[in-house]
């Protein structure tokens, strides 16, 4: 089982499109996991049918019992997250679910049994069959919810279970990572065998990718690289190449900037199925390089 995650730090660098194409290229000997639970997109292109959908419940949420609350306000100062507010006019106290972290500190200070504790429904996870006869696992966090790191863990765990049941030992788990370098990203890449970092060849894309590489280093994950949107600035392209050389990060290939990419997406096609031979070949060569690198 080879777990390979595609990450970039910056959003819109091509993570989803490239990881989907890689998954399609490997085909039935792989499964796809979309760990961008904030904004899952891979299913839009890949899914054919949902096989299993289950709620994800994690942690707690607190509410005020209007019946019991005497509006004393002790809970307001107990909350470290500023989630509890009093309405100036009605004096009524409410907890804003968007800011409540579910710690329960309010419970401890309430003498009137006016704090209600509820299980926190954060979203759903899905196991689906795909248009290319593989399996994918993904999740949708309820917009505004927390706990994305835990949901990422769950999705990855489900992925490993399915892999063990249905895929040959030398197969792949292809992981599409969330943007950033915080909790969701760490949950998405920790313990993978390889991280394919997609460096968008722009100043900000390069800046962000370096931070992902730094996190991967801390987690001791081997990194390979792909440069996307190359050719916009030869200066940035060169800086990236120098950086990769200096830090001894293998380059799997370069994808030039091309207006065509968004059109391919809009036709609901995988990049690798593009009728543009240049695009298609650049991807195939990158994927072959990854496969060869992993075999070594």
């Amino acid at each position: 089982m080879i777990q390979i995650a595609f990450a970039s730090g910056k959003g819109g660098a091509g993570k989803t499109s490239i990881s989907l194409s890689f998954h399609k290229y490997i085909g039935e000997n792989s499964i796809m996991i979309d760990t961008d639970v904030d904004a899952a997109d891979a299913f839009l292109l890949l899914e054919s049918q949902i096989l299993e959908a289950k709620p994800f419940i994690s942690g707690w949420k607190y509410k005020i019992s209007e019946k019991n609350c005497v509006s004393c306000g002790r809970c307001i100062s107990s909350c470290s997250f500023g989630a509890i507010k009093r309405d100036i006019n009605s004096r009524k106290i409410t907890i804003n679910p968007l800011f409540c972290e579910g710690c329960g500190a309010c419970e401890d200070v309430c003498s009137f049994d006016a704090i209600i504790k509820e299980e926190n429904y954060c979203g759903d996870y899905f196991i689906s069959s795909t248009k290319i006869n593989t399996t994918m696992v993904y999740a949708k966090l309820i917009p505004g919810e927390d706990n994305s790191g835990k949901l990422v863990h769950l999705v990855r765990k489900k992925g490993v279970e399915i892999f063990k049941k249905s895929i040959q030992q030398d197969g792949y788990i292809v992981i599409d990572s969330p943007p950033g370098i915080g909790c969701p990203l760490m949950a998405a890449i920790s313990g993978v065998n390889y991280l394919a970092v997609i460096i968008e060849a722009t100043e900000s894309g390069f800046h962000d990718a370096k931070r992902v590489i730094e996190v991967a280093k801390q987690l001791k994950i081997p990194v390979v690289s792909i440069i996307n949107k190359a050719g916009l600035s030869s200066e940035i392209d060169n800086q990236i190449l120098l950086y990769l050389k200096e830090f001894d990060i293998s380059l799997m290939g370069i994808i030039p900037f091309n207006n065509e990419f968004n059109n391919i997406l809009n036709r609901e096609m995988f990049w690798i199925d593009s009728d543009n031979i240049e695009i298609k070949n650049s991807l195939i060569s990158i994927f072959d390089n990854i496969i060869n690198y992993v075999k070594k």
Binding site: K10, L44, P143, C183, M186, S233, N266, E268
Partner: protein
């Protein structure tokens, strides 16, 4: 509404739609005539300041958060802290404790309920806030320490900013969770930057869900506009959502962006229209 301090957040569910480039350009445009601050709240990947080449660093400050520890001499091993921690961040084995700080949310509940006053707080560094000046524009951003997962404290510290500005432009992190909510909840007006692709459209719908719950005034800007705008336009008109501006998909735009350069002069009319729309809405 206090016209002296208008906070506008640029946000989107999907990354890479152009939040930062439009937000930086809007801030730059405003700063020519009005007192403006640009605040980058994408603390995981702060790259807004990059565009302001002549920026001068004025201030740097470390941000820490509270993490609990225990004075074992005062502890009666009642285990109340372990039982009450909803994040399972405290474990007790025989007469020793282990704190899992990556799970701890710094709620201070353990300290507050300890009957012996045995728990006290240490500081853990989560990142660094930076302030810059670039011509007339004040810039603030923060950078999460690599390996840290505590974005919330850093974002909250970063968004504290003086009311002296006529405009405060907030650049939001991508996604639809905590960090994004922290940003849009601060704003008087939210601009959702969307790109007309299936992924961009899907993530726009998610972002709208959050924004509707959080602020009264918001609108959509289409970036990388082209042949497929109708996927967003049809949806917006069906639901009565406002699309206030469009920026074309343009290689020159992308080249300038790649080098971290400004191109706002070409788009000053568009920036003016966005500004007018915001002022009218408020």
């Amino acid at each position: 509404m206090n016209s002296k301090n208008i906070k506008v957040a640029f946000s989107s569910g999907k990354g890479g739609t152009g939040k930062t480039s439009i937000a930086t350009h809007f801030a730059k445009y405003l700063s020519i005539t009005e007192k403006t601050a640009f605040v980058d709240l994408d603390v995981e990947e702060p790259n807004g300041a990059i565009f302001f080449k002549n920026r001068e660093l004025r201030k740097k400050e470390t941000v820490s958060r509270d993490i609990p520890t225990i004075d074992i001499q005062r502890c009666s091993f009642c285990k109340l802290c372990v039982q009450k921690c909803n994040f399972n961040a405290i474990a007790m084995y025989k007469q020793s404790f282990k704190f899992f700080y990556e799970l701890c949310k710094s709620c201070n509940r353990c300290q507050n309920i300890c009957p012996n006053g045995a728990i006290y707080q240490l500081k853990e560094e989560v990142g660094e806030i930076r302030e810059y000046q670039s011509d007339n524009l004040f810039i603030k951003d923060a950078i999460l320490k690599e390996g840290s997962v505590q974005t919330k404290h850093l974002i909250q510290a970063t968004k504290k900013i003086s009311d002296n500005f006529t405009w405060t432009i907030l650049d939001s992190p991508p996604g639809t969770t905590c960090p994004m909510v922290e940003t849009v909840s601060e704003a008087d007006f939210v601009v959702l930057v969307a790109e007309p692709t299936p992924f961009g459209f899907n993530d726009l719908k998610l972002a709208i869900e959050v924004v509707k719950k959080t602020v009264k005034n918001w609108a959509i800007v289409i970036n990388k506009s082209g042949a497929y705008d109708s996927i967003i336009e049809d949806f917006a008109s069906k639901n009565g959502y406002n699309i206030i501006e469009k920026f074309p998909f343009d290689r020159v735009f992308a080249e300038k962006y790649a080098q971290g350069e400004f191109f706002y002069t070409q788009y000053s009319e568009k920036m003016e229209r966005i500004k007018k729309h915001i002022l009218e809405a408020l």
